[in-house]
Amino acid sequence: MSGARHLYVHVPFCSQRCDYCDFVSLAGQRDHHSRYARALLAELELERDLLAPKLETVYLGGGTPTFLEPEALRTLLEGLPGASELTVEANPETVTPALAAALVEAGVNRVSLGAQSFQPRLLELLGRHAGPDDVRRAIETLRDAGSDNISLDLLYGIPGQRRADLDADLDEALALAPEHLSCYELEAKPGTRFARAHGAELAEQADALEDHLERIIERLTASGYRWYETANFARIEPGRDLRSVHNLGYWRAHDYLGIGMGAVSTLAGLRWKNVPSMVRYLEALEREETPPREIEALDEATKLRERLMLGLRLDEPVALAGVEAVLDRAGLVRFSELGLVESRGESITLSRRGRMLGGAVSAELLLWSGDSLAA
């Protein structure tokens, strides 16, 4: 076994919890930062054998990794293995000149910035601290420090977000010329405070979201971005591939190791999730034990289904060789007739419309256990 070439590092700390967020995150807990950084490195040490000698990507996600105390962040960055792509997620308000310099110095060559929106009233509704000016200033600061690969996150489907708001957000984002853009539909998980507060409004504007997604794709592709994954766009630049190599790893169903509380790994047919409890995570690693984990064994068919499901999110063809066993042939014919799937014999790609319907299309293209195999 050659080992995983992708490493994900989860940093759950945030200055505060955003109402809509469903990631494993913890507000505050500054006193835990250094302990946590050491625990991450301890877990890495325990699992080092699972990694390839040379990594393609390391990704620090959160939470807000840049909310870490500077000392803890430095310890962590110094202790992580090198990789050709090293991404750190940041919230605009955390980006100071000192932080930007420290990141560049530590070899961080990609920064993913959570802008979400440029409309103060929508940011307030989301419970975000940073205002539109913070985003602009953060990018300026990062550019000044030498960052040349910046990604911006935008949200659409925020309660009360009108077409004009979305257009303004796209204008603002494009004006900042980020190398990469992620555009996510706001998902209100049932049962959350956010869903309770805004559920009715979200349901009402569900139809408008179709227009929003169309609009985003239209405008970004017209502005020189490649819609390379369902929710992701990379600036087209001669000589540089600005897609997120780390995330491409997920969508191409590569193995990856994830460390940190609540982090997920997929390696050699197993998927495991670390315990999502700070205390239990810290205590285990301070005893130099692997943290408690939930383990899921991925059988062959499941692996193939995931390969197809993830691959169809991309604009590149998915090879059919090997996945026939989980492919619904009748569905394939039907979707080809409907112009949702382009089939080239050896491989398939979703058409533009097919990608906008990617969830439903891939659900039906996949054969699940219990589906008739005769189809």
């Binding site: 179709e210 990617g358 969830g359 996949l366």
Partner: protein
């Protein structure tokens, strides 16, 4: 026992007026059952009945009281089961008519009282629940006395719940109800008034011995079909099965026939002996014809054989249930079932789902239509989709409806009946406060939601009962629904022409809401013949994405997709359109049901 010491009687009442409680008290008082063993309402043996507080199957219990043998024959209390009530009454000489002292006479009180009178029964009027704070025993006694004739003092006042006055009821049974007349020495004749099926013992016939007697190991014969059998057991209920050597004239009991085919001993048939057969059978019953029909389809088409088997078993205990195979293009294989009424339909559906663990789709109910075709033949149509195009004349069943309401709701009831093509017959004040309205209505106008509407427009005060009054010609049309250009047989319906446009429009609107958006535009049309009268479009869906999917999301997203596809498998295909099963019930969800104006 000699005839003069036997009394056979029923208890008849409007629902919830206390029939079962009184039966319980009688059993208790006569020590047929100990307090400890007593479950409330022991005569209702099926769980479902106990839950709904209604009785479906008639049963007979024998008790002893002061040297007399009393046979209490239980009757179902709901409008749909008039026919079963009438069967039970034919086995009796008298009936206790129980009326709630707080409610007064209700529609089923009347219907049951008339049935008893038609059957020449001695009616013993009883006012129940006299201990309720809002009870009006004197007023109610007066109402009841007016109804059945006789003096108000003759009406017994009781509380079945506390037991007050129940002994007097038993005294009245002995004093007022005549003993059975019959000839103990004539050739044996017994009327089968009900039957039940036991998977180990076969058909159990409930009989009323009219003449002569049966002994065990005496070969018997059901006269209608000439079915001969040797009974495995004779007995009576007390309330458990109690075997006896002999059943004699005037008695009520059961015969375990050992027959495995319920059709060979019909309810209403006469049983006699093989050795000394009676010359003439007793007057039987006229067979009831189901008037309400609906398609029953398994939601999972693989369950069709289970559904067939379940219906076969149910039919053994429910003679009124009718079923014939039906194939729907949209819903696949199922059965078109005939019911006595809506409650009957509801009970059959619940029993199928509960006792047989089936998941069913029941189409909107319709009535039976009599159709004269251009060719001059007359046929009965039970399924709107089978209505022939070359029809000359269509008749639909009509009912005579009795509605009893407090006088302030008379206007609302009249309005409702007028909306449903009702013809006012007459109106009568039962008391200063309460009014009885008689309407003639097409049965087709009440099968969907008439009862719900009646209840909601009278704040629950109205009581309702009906009798079929015959078929009458109507200006009826068939509306077909086309989804994606394909006609959906399970959605066709027959309506009065005046209502067709309105209902057609509402129906396509409702379907537009019920049918999820597909990968392409789906037109939904309502048509009369080739003429489209309403149209809507379910616009193609443009977006269905899983917003984000990174390392930590993969398992969850995979499961979401699996669930999404499984959800689709529950849908039915019409052409290439996936239609959720609920959409086939759209007609039940229209405002005002069958299209009544708001």
């Amino acid at each position: 026992m000699d005839l003069s010491h036997i009394r056979n009687f029923s208890i008849i009442a409007h629902i919830d007026h206390g029939k079962s409680t009184l039966a319980d008290r009688i059993l208790e008082l006569t020590h047929a059952i100990s307090m400890r063993d007593m479950r409330e309402q022991v005569l209702d043996s099926m769980d479902l009945e106990r839950e709904r507080g209604i009785t479906i199957k008639a049963q007979a219990v024998r008790v002893s009281w002061k040297g007399h043998e009393l046979n209490l024959i239980d009757t179902p209390g709901h409008v749909d089961f008039t026919y079963e009530v009438s069967r039970s009454l034919q086995a009796c000489e008298g009936a206790l008519l129980v009326v709630d002292a707080a409610q007064g006479i209700e529609a089923q009180t009347l219907a049951n009282a008339y049935l008893a009178i038609e059957n020449n029964l001695e009616i013993v009027p009883v006012v129940n629940k006299i201990d309720l704070p809002q009870a009006d025993p004197e007023g109610t006694a007066l109402e009841v006395a007016t109804l059945v004739g006789g003096a108000p003092e003759h009406v017994l006042a009781i509380s079945a719940k506390s037991g007050v006055g129940v002994e007097a009821v038993l005294e009245a049974v002995i004093e007022r109800i005549p003993p059975p007349s019959g000839d103990p020495s004539a050739s044996a004749r017994a009327l089968v008034f009900d039957s039940s099926y036991d998977q180990y013992r076969g058909v159990v016939a409930f009989v009323r011995m009219v003449d002569g007697s049966f002994s065990r190991r005496q070969a018997l014969k059901a006269m209608a079909l000439g079915t001969e059998f040797e009974p495995e057991e004779l007995g009576f209920f007390s309330p458990g099965m109690t075997p006896v050597e002999k059943l004699t004239a005037g008695e009520v009991g059961y015969i375990v026939t050992g027959l495995k085919d319920v059709a060979r001993v019909r309810v209403g048939d006469t049983i006699t002996t093989v050795a000394e057969p009676a010359a003439e059978p007793l007057a039987g019953y006229k067979e009831v014809k189901p008037m309400v029909f609906a398609g029953l389809f398994p939601t999972d088409s693989d369950a069709y054989p289970e559904l067939r088997e379940a219906l076969e078993k149910l039919k053994l205990n429910d003679a009124a249930l009718l079923y014939e195979p039906e194939t729907s293009k949209a819903l696949g294989f199922g059965f078109r079932c005939g019911f006595l009424g809506l409650l009957h339909m509801e009970i059959v559906r619940e029993r199928l789902e509960r006792e047989f663990d089936l998941d069913l789709l029941v189409t909107a109910p319709n009535v039976a239509y009599r159709v004269k075709t251009n060719a001059g033949t007359e046929i009965e149509v039970h399924n709107p989709a089978e209505m022939p195009p070359d029809l000359d004349e269509v008749s639909e069943p009509y009912i005579k409806a009795t509605v009893i309401v407090p006088k302030e709701f008379v206007g609302s009831v009249m309005e409702l009946c007028n909306e449903r093509r009702g013809r006012f017959d007459h109106m009568e004040y039962l008391s200063e406060q309460r009014v009885m309205l008689i309407y003639e209505l097409p049965l087709g106008e009440i099968v969907l939601d008439f009862y719900d509407q009646l209840k909601s427009r009278t704040r629950g005060y109205a009581s309702f009962d009906y009798d079929l009054s015959g078929f009458r010609e109507g200006d009826l049309v068939r509306i077909d629904i086309l989804v994606g250009g394909e006609s959906v047989d399970a959605l066709s319906l027959i309506l009065h022409r005046d209502r067709a446009y309105d209902t057609g429009r509402q129906l396509v609107e409702k379907l537009r809401e019920e049918i999820p958006r597909q990968f392409f535009d789906v037109p939904i049309q309502a048509a009369i013949g080739a003429r489209v009268i309403a149209r809507e479009t379910v616009k193609a869906k443009r977006k269905d994405v899983l917003a984000k999917c990174y390392g930590g999301d993969i398992s969850r997203k995979r499961k979401l997709l699996e669930k999404q596809k499984k959800g689709k498998k529950r849908m039915k295909r019409v052409g290439s359109v996936e239609v959720p099963q609920e959409a086939f019930l759209a007609v039940l969800k229209l405002d005002g049901g069958s299209g009544g104006k708001k």
